[in-house]
């Protein structure tokens, strides 16, 4: 049973365009929603994260939009650049989890054409 569902599996965007990746979850105990970015040959690294008490968080060109009632959250990459080409994973964590276990989506491979 997949705890976090992510779409699309792959995404091709023109340089300067907006990249949008969507995730959905069912478990209302989730209270922390990070996005990880993975470049080829590297391990994933934390990109940006949000807690459900806010609807949006922005860091530079990266924005997370969070819809608590719909149990959905999305990553928006504004002015997408070829250097943004990577695999993106959304994730979620249980409230009160001391173990810090994250449940990951299946990933989105983003390609930004110059």
């Amino acid at each position: 049973q997949q705890q976090v569902k992510q779409s699309p599996q792959s995404l091709i965007v023109q340089k300067g365009g907006i990249s949008i990746i969507n995730c959905a979850y069912e478990n209302t105990a989730f209270d922390y929603f990070p996005w990880y970015q993975q470049f080829p040959g590297k391990g994933p690294a934390l990109l940006i994260a949000i807690r459900p008490d806010v609807s949006e968080k922005k860091e530079g060109r990266f924005t997370i939009s969070f819809n608590k009632s719909a149990k959905q959250f999305s990553l928006h990459i504004m002015d997408s650049q070829p250097g943004d080409s990577a695999t993106y994973f959304c994730a979620a964590r249980n409230r009160g989890s001391t173990l810090g276990r994250l449940y990951f989506g299946r990933g989105t491979q983003l390609t930004v054409w110059p």
Binding site: Q9, P34, K42, G43, A49, G100, L102
Partner: protein, 115 residues
């Protein structure tokens, strides 16, 4: 900077061999994790550990075991490698406790091919 080091970047093994994948972190993190990454399937949790000698099964533990004798080191063991275990293996660590974000710090991965 947190550093998670996986000793082998690339391994080629034969079916039936015993395989050890080693992971060391240098930030005194309590939690350590082993994930498997396959195209289209994302990151699947094999095992995790929240303390020395403690381990918990993840979502796909079959065919794997782990060892954590020291806080900084977490080993993944394939007792008898099979071709369906050909994959990228990622180790990660994080701080313990609800007050933390639980940010995972990943190694660069070990790509295992089983012939």
């Amino acid at each position: 900077d947190v550093k998670v080091t996986q000793s082998s970047r690339y391994l080629v093994k034969r079916t039936g061999e015993k395989v050890f994948l080693e992971c060391v972190q240098d930030m005194d993190h309590e939690n350590m994790f082993w994930y498997r990454q396959d195209p289209g399937l994302g990151l699947r949790l094999i095992y995790f550990s929240y303390d020395v000698k403690m381990k918990e099964k993840g979502d796909i533990p079959e065919g794997y075991s782990v060892s954590r004798e020291k806080k900084e080191r977490f080993s993944l063991i394939l007792e008898s490698a099979s071709t369906n275990q050909t994959s990228m293996y990622l180790c990660a660590s994080s701080l313990w406790g609800t007050g933390n974000t639980g940010e995972l710090f990943f190694g660069e991965g070990s790509r295992l091919t089983v012939l």
